[in-house]
Each structure stands twice: as structure tokens, then as C-alpha cells.
Symmetry: C2
Subunit: 659 residues, 2 copies
């Protein structure tokens, strides 16, 4: 039975939850397919995550391998294929709790970087799991800066082999998933040397474990890097190589090859490689970043209408904590952000699909823009969503701190997204470099890519809003964001120019501007997100109350951004202090409006109880019963503790049973 405090929240929804779900999925048919996949996965006990919060790192790894192997069978059974419409829902339905994800990256890198002959040899082996692959790029001492990798591959002309070595400890491969215990093969990135000359970093297929007994191959040292903040199910590994020889054919050679006589040949464009890395940053947003935020919002908001604390009105019963303005102000902006980022993700996917089609037609013109987009949005969205999940966790008080709430594992997992696939600050600075370049071009009257034409149209002036309702106009706030982004980009550019003109060396000048450059890049992405949200709302169907509630969320997202970054809007007087008070008033008013639909808005994300795996967030809101029931299953309750026999009994011994 549904907790009446939760049930009552659903009776007053201002819109159709089912229609909003379909909107989020991209249509009714998509919703149907997604639900069918979820149903198939969740009804299969092998995929259960029931005991996840009680398992050790070893147990989590076991389960993930078991699931990965079972998934092959399941897909066959269900008739799901890698190109079918179901495929994209499988990972979400598993909540990512499965091994061999790097096996897929191994295959992708061979497909992209390998010759037709290499593809013909390795891809069938990998597809049929004749081997398990990994992808060994990052080293103990080297991450984001790939040119700094220290692993070496020296071509031995006499044997026609590459000799791979880990010259020192900082060159040890470190972090690759599936490598610590599972992988038999890996793609190793190493500095290529031919006849004493270094040709830079290249990829090599290296076998690391025997296919018969899984023992390490000669010259290989490998293992698991130990406990991490999350990802217990993944065997992130280390790898050292000592004179490991692979045949000449194992260097992936679509774009460059070492010929038998030692001649180094480079062919075709390498740009497409960067594009692959670029797409990964965008493709991770949905499953690794948005889904966790949506789950955290679902858990925290459902809990906040079930939990009662203190009295809002003297004499009444204790109030639902979501009725407190401070609780609304914690959670509702995160809910608005989840929608804002859902829509920007759609926009980015579309942009990248279009870009990919261009690239297939050998038009590489959009690459710089796409690279800047993927870097900036990866950084901005992961950072924003990580903070948002943390806010959800803290907003649930003590129970949010229990692993059983599901919130700690959502937080510790999403946090990693700020670090992997490019460290966020480095990425923001890449976006900033693009913006500065475009700003300079625009200032000089040169053409710039479509997404940054706004940089050319710098309009001085003031925000025209006259009262708090004016700030509910998308034109008003979108203009304000645009003005702010242009100002931050132009002033960073001006500072950079000034420094260089005053004699500071270019690289020093750049470093001295990086705090402001990173801020400018974030401002750009924030502006595009607000603009895209407003434009999306414009296009939504007006039926079933969906456009109306989305408009409220868009307003909230925009005004929350102005409220909490007020300095950058006030700085040049574009928004005055008096206007900022109007922003604040409209923003706080919106909280009370959206609060009424808060539960329907998270219901629309359509997570099952099994996928939330949270004692606080279930659809029925039976929080306290579930916490108690789950706690009893904890291994800490399964036995009289040995500590009693060893330490407490001697301490307490020979006393009356009762004092």
C-alpha cells in the first residue's frame, strides 16, 4: 500500500505523467521498448542488485562477471542485437553493474584504428569472447596529457617484432577497467621507436594472460589497483611489461604503419580519432550522469514528502519537509537541472549525429566546434550533476547517509565522471581556447561557427525587466545569460591581450588567465543550456499540461542560475540590485509553484524500485519499514560478533546479568 503522504502528492498533478514520460523517451513506442527491456532484466535473478550494498569488492566483481556472461545468453534469448532498438536500454536497466565494458572499447579501438585485415582477425575473436579485451592508455604518472606517456615499443627489425617495456614505475599502466583480473588482451598505447627515432604514441595489441589457465604471460606483471570510492564491480588494473614481444602486425595500422624494413608510413587523416574521443564524452552523459541525477531527485523528493519534521504551523501535525522553503530550494533546482540537461543532451546528440554525417562526407569543418562542445558540456554537466546529487544526499539528513538510501553510491559513482574521459578543468580550458579564438575572429569581422555567432553581436545596455514577472520571460533571462557570457569571454580575452602586449610570454599569460577562462567557458555552456531549454519548451505540445510545467522548470533553472551566480550578472550593472531582488522574488515564488508537482515530475522519470535500489525512494514511500527490513539483512547482523568473545566477554565477565 502506498504511504498516504506520497499518494496525496500524485492526486494533484497538473499534467499527465505518462505523456511526460513518453516525451522524455522520445515517443510512446520508445517507452514501450524501454519498459520491456527493464522488465526482462529485472525479472531475471542473475541481474539482481538486491545485496549490492552488503557486498565486498570481490563479491561485486564476481557478480559483474557473472552478469556479463549471462547477458550474452540473455540477448540471444530475447533476440536483442547491438544494433537493435533495445540495446541502448540494457545498460541503464543493469544500472551499469556489469563487467567487460572495456572489452567494448577494445573492439571499438580496433574497428576505428585497425586495418581491414586486423579487423577481420580480431573482431570475430572478440565478438565470440575467444578473448577478453581491455584498453591500456592511462599510466600511473600520466593521464590527460597523452604525449607524456612513457611506455615504449621498440621495433626489432631482425625479428619483425615490437618490444614493449615499462621503463619506470610512473610508466606502469594504471586504471584500465577489466584489466586487473579479467582481460586476456589489451590495446597498449606506447611511444613507438624505430631505429632510435621516436614517432610518438601508437596502439598495440598485447596478450597479457594465457587463454588456457589465465596465468600472466611471460614478461607481464598485472593485477588489481585495489579499493576505490565506487566501481567495486570493475577490476581496474595495473600492467607492467618487460621485453614483451608482439609481431609487427599487432600495431593498429589503419593510419600509420611500420613496414618490414623499418620505414614509418603515415596515411589518411588522424582527425577522426579525436572525433571518437569527442563522441565518448557526449555519449556518457545520458547513462553515467543524467540517470544518476534523476534517480537522486526521485529518491530525495519522494522521501521529502514522507518525512515529517517540526511544525510549520503551531498546533498542526509535523510538516512534510518538502513544505519548507529551504528544502524546496535544495531539491527543486536540481530537478530543474535534470530536465535542462536532458534537453541539452538531446541537442548534443543531434548535433553530433549531424557532425558525424558531415565527417563521413569528408567535411571536417565542424570538428573544432564539436570538440569545444563536447569538452565544455562534459565538464559543465558532470560538475553540475555531481553537486546536485550531493545536495540530494545531504537533503535527506541521516538516512541519506545510509548506503541503503542508494544516494551514497549514486554520489560516489557520478563523482568519477568529473575525472574520467578528460579532467574537467583541462576540458573547460579547451573550450575556452576555442571561444577566445572565435571571439577574436568575430571582433575582426570574420565568420565563426553558428553556436558562437552571438559573440559578434555584443550589445551594451541594461536588462529591461521592470518587475518580477518580467523575469519569467525567456527572452529576458536568455538575453541576460548571453550578455554575461559575452562579457566574461571578452574580458578574459582583453586580459590575455593586455598581458601579452605588456611583454608577458604567451604561455605565462594564458596560465595567468585560466581561472577566468574556465569561468567563461562554463558561462558559455550555461547560456546555451538555458537557451536550448527555452527553445525546447516553445516547441512542446501545449496539451496535457506538459508545456506549462516545463516552462516553470525552465524559468526555475534560469533564475536559480542568476540567483546563485548573481555577481557575474551584477558586475557591469546589466542587472541592477533592484532587479536582482526581483529575480530572487520570482525564483522563490517558483519554488512554491513547482513543489506542487514535484512528485509527478520525478514519477515521470519512470524508475522501477529495483532500478532505484533505495530504501528511501520506492514508489510506495514505505521508508521506515524498508530501512528496517534491509538493515536486518546486513552481514553485521548475521552473527554474534567475534568481538564479543574476544574483547567484550573478558571485559564484562562474571557480573550479574542485570544491574
Amino acid at each position: 500500500s502506498v504511504n498516504p503522504d506520497l499518494a496525496s502528492e500524485r492526486q494533484t498533478a497538473s499534467f499527465s505523467v505518462e505523456k511526460l514520460t513518453a516525451q522524455l523517451d522520445g515517443g510512446v513506442e520508445q517507452t514501450r521498448i524501454r519498459r520491456a527491456v527493464v522488465e526482462a532484466i529485472e525479472s531475471d535473478p542473475v541481474f539482481s542488485r538486491e545485496n549490492q550494498y552488503f557486498q565486498s569488492q570481490n563479491e561485486r566483481y564476481e557478480a559483474a562477471v557473472r552478469k556479463a556472461v549471462h547477458l550474452q545468453k540473455k540477448m540471444h534469448e530475447m533476440g536483442w542485437t547491438e544494433n537493435g532498438p533495445e540495446f541502448k536500454y540494457i545498460y541503464r536497466a543493469l544500472s551499469g553493474d556489469v563487467a567487460f565494458l572495456l572489452h567494448r572499447i577494445f573492439m571499438r579501438s580496433i574497428s576505428v584504428l585497425g586495418s581491414d585485415k586486423q579487423i577481420a582477425k580480431w573482431i570475430p575473436l572478440a565478438t565470440q569472447y575467444q578473448l577478453i579485451g581491455s584498453y591500456a592508455q592511462t599510466e600511473l604518472g600520466h593521464g590527460t596529457y597523452l604525449q607524456g606517456l612513457e611506455t615504449t615499443a621498440v621495433f626489432d627489425i631482425t625479428t619483425q617484432e615490437f618490444i614493449l617495456n615499462t621503463p619506470k614505475i610512473s610508466a606502469m599502466k594504471w586504471w584500465p577497467g577489466d584489466m586487473g583480473r579479467s582481460a586476456t588482451h589489451t590495446v597498449v598505447f606506447a611511444q613507438l621507436y624505430v631505429q632510435g627515432k621516436c614517432y610518438g604514441v601508437h596502439p598495440f595489441i598485447v596478450q597479457i594472460r594465457s587463454l588456457q589457465d589465465h596465468s600472466l604471460c611471460p614478461g607481464i606483471t598485472a593485477g588489481d589497483i585495489g579499493p576505490k570510492m565506487n566501481f567495486e564491480h570493475i577490476d581496474n588494473g595495473y600492467l607492467m611489461m618487460q621485453n614483451v614481444r608482439v609481431p609487427r602486425e599487432n600495431m593498429l595500422n589503419k593510419f600509420c604503419e611500420v613496414q618490414p624494413d623499418g620505414t614509418y608510413v603515415r596515411r589518411g587523416s588522424q582527425k577522426i580519432n579525436y572525433f571518437t574521443m569527442t563522441t565518448v564524452r557526449i555519449s556518457l552523459l545520458s547513462d553515467e550522469v543524467l540517470t544518476p541525477l534523476m534517480k537522486a531527485c526521485t529518491i530525495a523528493i519522494r522521501y521529502s514528502v514522507v518525512r515529517r519534521q517540526s511544525k510549520l504551523k503551531p498546533g498542526e501535525e509535523e510538516a512534510k519537509i518538502l513544505d519548507y522553503q529551504t528544502q524546496q530550494e535544495k531539491l527543486l533546482p536540481q530537478l530543474a537541472a535534470a530536465y535542462a540537461f536532458h534537453f541539452i543532451n538531446d541537442y548534443l546528440q543531434e548535433l553530433f549525429n549531424r557532425g558525424y554525417r558531415e565527417i563521413q562526407r569528408k567535411n571536417f569543418d565542424t570538428l573544432p566546434e564539436l570538440h569545444a562542445f563536447s569538452s565544455g558540456f562534459k565538464a559543465m554537466v558532470t560538475q553540475h550533476c555531481t553537486s546536485a546529487v550531493e545536495i540530494c544526499l545531504r537533503a535527506c539528513g541521516g538516512h541519506g547517509y545510509s548506503l541503503l538510501s542508494g544516494l551514497p553510491s549514486l554520489y560516489t559513482k557520478i563523482l568519477a565522471s568529473c575525472i574520467y574521459e578528460g579532467e574537467n578543468t583541462v576540458l573547460l580550458l579547451q573550450t575556452a581556447r576555442f571561444l577566445i579564438k572565435c571571439f577574436m575572429a568575430a571582433s575582426a569581422g570574420q565568420p565563426v561557427p553558428p553556436s558562437v555567432t552571438y559573440l559578434a553581436a555584443v550589445k551594451p545596455g541594461k536588462c529591461p525587466a521592470k518587475n518580477k514577472l518580467d523575469f519569467l520571460s525567456p527572452d529576458i533571462y536568455t538575453e541576460a545569460y548571453q550578455h554575461m557570457a559575452v562579457r566574461l569571454i571578452s574580458s578574459a580575452a582583453a586580459k590575455l591581450q593586455d598581458l601579452i602586449q605588456s611583454g608577458v610570454k604567451k604561455h605565462d599569460a594564458w596560465n595567468q588567465c585560466t581561472v577566468q577562462l574556465a569561468q567563461a567557458a562554463k558561462a558559455h555552456c550555461h547560456y546555451i543550456t538555458v537557451k536550448n531549454f527555452a527553445e525546447t519548451v516553445e516547441k512542446l505540445e501545449t496539451k496535457a499540461g506538459i508545456q506549462k510545467i516545463m516552462k516553470h522548470l525552465c524559468d526555475l533553472f534560469a533564475l536559480h542560475g542568476i540567483f546563485s551566480n548573481s555577481g557575474v550578472f551584477l558586475h557591469d550593472g546589466y542587472i541592477s540590485g533592484v532587479q536582482m531582488d526581483m529575480v530572487t522574488a520570482s525564483y522563490l515564488d517558483l519554488l512554491a509553484v513547482i513543489r506542487k508537482d514535484a512528485v509527478p515530475l520525478v514519477d515521470a522519470f519512470d524508475f522501477t524500485d529495483k532500478s532505484l535500489n533505495s530504501a528511501l525512494g520506492s514508489y510506495d514511500g514505505q521508508v521506515y519499514h524498508r530501512l528496517y527490513e534491509w538493515a536486518q539483512k546486513s552481514p553485521t547482523n548475521k552473527q554474534m560478533s567475534p568481538a564479543y568473545e574476544r574483547y567484550l566477554k573478558p571485559l564484562l565477565h562474571n557480573r550479574p546479568s542485570k544491574l
Copy 2:
């Protein structure tokens, strides 16, 4: 041998590290005592935390109980007593990794709330560990709002007993430490009923486990609440009672008593109880909040001079990451905050010692001010330090995410400080209530407590700074903080008044202002922290370069606050946009200055490698060797995984050993 990249940082210190350490400890003699305690604890293998990151919740609990029992012996051996000068260093030396902390709260509550007779009976039993105590206040459905507790204690006049019951699941005691598995007794807070009348919440001593075989007493259901984000070593527990009878003498009755005939008598002042809760909030800051931040800064800053990445200057070797402005901007403000909060902690301790002396002389006048201070500073400092530790973690990239860095456990532990001993938002609003009251009084010309007299002296006007150097004047920035705090408090008060005058009911009006009230309370605490830092620097000895470097840190702390909360300073034009650019320039300049002393500034915290327990942060900076060495000890490397036999072998079976 010390990593040369770290060693070189120490050669250029602008001040004496040893003198700064003594300054932080409060004198050379204190440093000596602290080091002796640390040495004694760390040289004893029972207290080792070497395998902590590899242990299960059960193993952590075992170890904590073992350490608690051993600590009794150790203290006796060393001649340390609870009132001796060593005592306060023991917990820090153990990094809090010890059981029976709630046993101490059990004793403290009996000492404060019990009659002389009760003290005479229970305290010796507890001191000699004839029992193990806990403190059962929080319930599954009730935390910060104590009046809402649902556990009942009904007086049975015929048997002269109280009958304790858990009437429903939300009334179950939940979270008390040491209760899940260890405690034999606990102080239970319950609603007292005598002859049908409810007298509110009172404390009762209840035995929950047998002293002979540790089995649960009749009517008691208890156990461990399961996995949490940290505190694996503590058996946070649950407790249900069904008609559990305790004698009349077990209600702690210093302040109120039920007499044999059922007459309820209240005597003396209960205010002193609140004072006890108040002091706990202040006393936790040092060990639970400041120490973790100082450790996180030490780890992240040492790592940032050892880790090299990308080239700052073309052609040179890769740069230390601390040489990047963005990395400085992440870490150095956190370092400045650690010092700022160290000094405000000294200030608060002194304030509370003075307050305690007054209270012993039956002068309760300072209680409201002390309560407001303890609430606001607990909230502000825990929140600021939690964010700071998270920034340190993220600033270490992938390796910060490994448990072996020590940063994840520092973060997950400090995070709890935002929740326990009063939820931060609730606490800020208590401070805000005090501030609004004082502001009203000051406006009406009435006297107010010394810490808030500044509210009476509202000076309109503008910041007089004319160039970026002016912002290195403590008068300039302290004035700015004061102005900002007064503005936020006065405008929240004005909004509240306006709402009430327009007919909104008082409690609704309060709720509608809470976002701004919480902001105002934080602003007040921020102002006091800056002011205190500046005043402390003023008084420091000018010798040995200490005053100079502390002045830089004070400036950085103040300017970072203005830079990152620029909106509240720009809002009414007190600081103009042009002046804000000066703030930014001075702030960024300071980063480069303090960067030179960053390592000596964390060395001064004087953490041993064992107390940091971090593969990234050790004194010798041998990061990569240590990560590799520690990873090899992980249980994930101790055996061929059963996953191989079960899943991988069937998958990979019957293939040639090499492809």
C-alpha cells in the same frame, strides 16, 4: 629518500615551520606532549590502521572494539588520565578509529542529568567497564525535532516502574553508536506519561543486553543499522522496546522526578542542558572537521608538487600541477580556510570557556549568544570544510578517487558532520532568529550582545578602495564583510516585517524568508571569521616570518570569499564592478605568492605518515611506489578469482594459449 620535487619545495620556506607548528599547538610544550602521544599510539601495532582500506564493516568494528579495550590498558601504562594534558591528543592520534565513544556520552548525560545518587551508582560501573553504555535519542522518524519523539515511558504506580514501549516503527531508536552490537545499557529518551498525562521527553537508563552472555534482554529488539558511507567501525544501532520495565530510580532525575505517588516534580533550571548540547557542537569542530581538512590539504598539496602534467612552457619538462593557476585556485583557498577555521576555533573555545565560568556563577545571560554562535559556526564550518575536502579530492584526479589516497574516507567522514548534532539548515535558522531579534533590538536602540553590536552601527556608503593593493588592507575587507552581513540581515528582517504587515501569518512569513535568513546567518559567521583572522594576525609575533605568511593567508581567505560570493558585495554597489576587478587581481596575485610556501604551510600541520594513511600524501612524496606497493596488498589480488573458474574458464576454454 624524499622525492626531489617535494624536497625542493621545503628549501625555500619563507618562515620557520617548527615555530608555526608550535603556534598552532598553542606552545612548544603542547607540541612536545602531542608528539609524545602520537609516538606512543603509532608505535603500538594494536592501533595500526595499515589495512583499513581493505577491511569489511565487520572487520572495522572488530578492530575498533579491540582498540577501545586496549586503550584502557595503554592509558594506564602511560599514566594518561582523562584530566591530563595528553588526553585531548589521544583521539586525534587514533584518527577517531576506536569504539565506545557513545559510552562517554552515556556517562556525560548521567553526570549532567542524573542525581547525586544516580551518579554514585552508575558512573563507577561505567568507568570500570562493568557495562557499556550508549545514548538512544534519535528515532527512525525523528531527529532534530526532539519534541516529536514517539517512544513512550508510562509510570506504573503499582510496581513503581516505568514501562517503555516503541509504539510504531517510526519510533524505533535508530543511529545510536555502540548500540548495534556492543552496548549493554543505554540512556533512552521517551515521552513520559504519568496517570495519562504526558510530561514530554525524559531520559531513562535501560539495560538492553545481558551481562553474562550478551543476549538481548526480554522485550528488547536491537541490531546494527547496516552499511553507511563511512563510520564502518561504529555499530550504529536500532532498538525497539516492548513493555520493558525499569525501576523508578532509572529516570535521570536531577531536574525532574516522578515521586512514588506519581507526583511530577520539576526543579532547577534546564537551561544548562541546552548548554551541554551547545558545547558539543563546538567541541567537535577540532577533531571531526578541522583535522580532516588539514589532512586533505596536506595530501592534495604534497601530491600537486610531485605530480607533473602537460607543459607550461614549450620545450620544458612537464610542469608540477601546482604551478597551474587553476590548481592553485582549487587548493590554496582551502589551505587558507584551514587556518581561518583553526583560529576561529580557538576564539570559540575561549568564548565557551568564559561562558561556562559565567554559568557556573549562575549567570545565564550569555546563553542565547552562545547558542547562536555554536549553531551558526557548526553549520558554516562543517559545510565549508566538507566542500573543501571534496575540492582537494577532485583536485587529485584519478588517484584522489582511489581509497589508498586517503581522500575518499576523509570526505565521506566529514560529510556526516553536516548532518549530525543538528542539521545545518535548521542550525543556521536558529542563528538567524537570534540575529533578527538582535537587529530589531539594535534598531530600537536597545542593548545587544557584544558580538552583534555591529548591527547597530549600520553605515551606508561605499568601499573606499582605489586600487588592487587597497584590498590587501584588513580594514577594507573586514568593513566590506561587515557591510554585507548587515545588509543581508537587515533586508531579511525587512522582508519578514513587510510580509507580516501585509497580513501573512507569522510562521508562513518566516518560512518564506528562510532561504534568505540562512544566507544572512552564514554571512554573519563569515564576517566574524574574517575579522577574527585579521585580529589574530595582528597579534602574532613578527619574528620567523610567521606573521607575514599568515597575513597572506588571511588576505586570501577574505578575498576568496569576496571573489566567490561577489553578488552579495556588488548588490547595493558597496563594491563596484571596477573594484571587484581589483579584488580578482589581488586574489589571483596572492595565489602565486602563497604557492611558494604551500608545502611548508601543510608541513606545519605536523601529520605523521601513519596518521595521514595516504599513498599520495606521505612526507617523502614517493607516490607511485606507494600506490603500487599498497595495491598489491589488496584482497582483490590475493587469489585467482573464483570468477575465473566459474565464468571465464568456460568462456575461454579450449583455445590455444596464445592468439
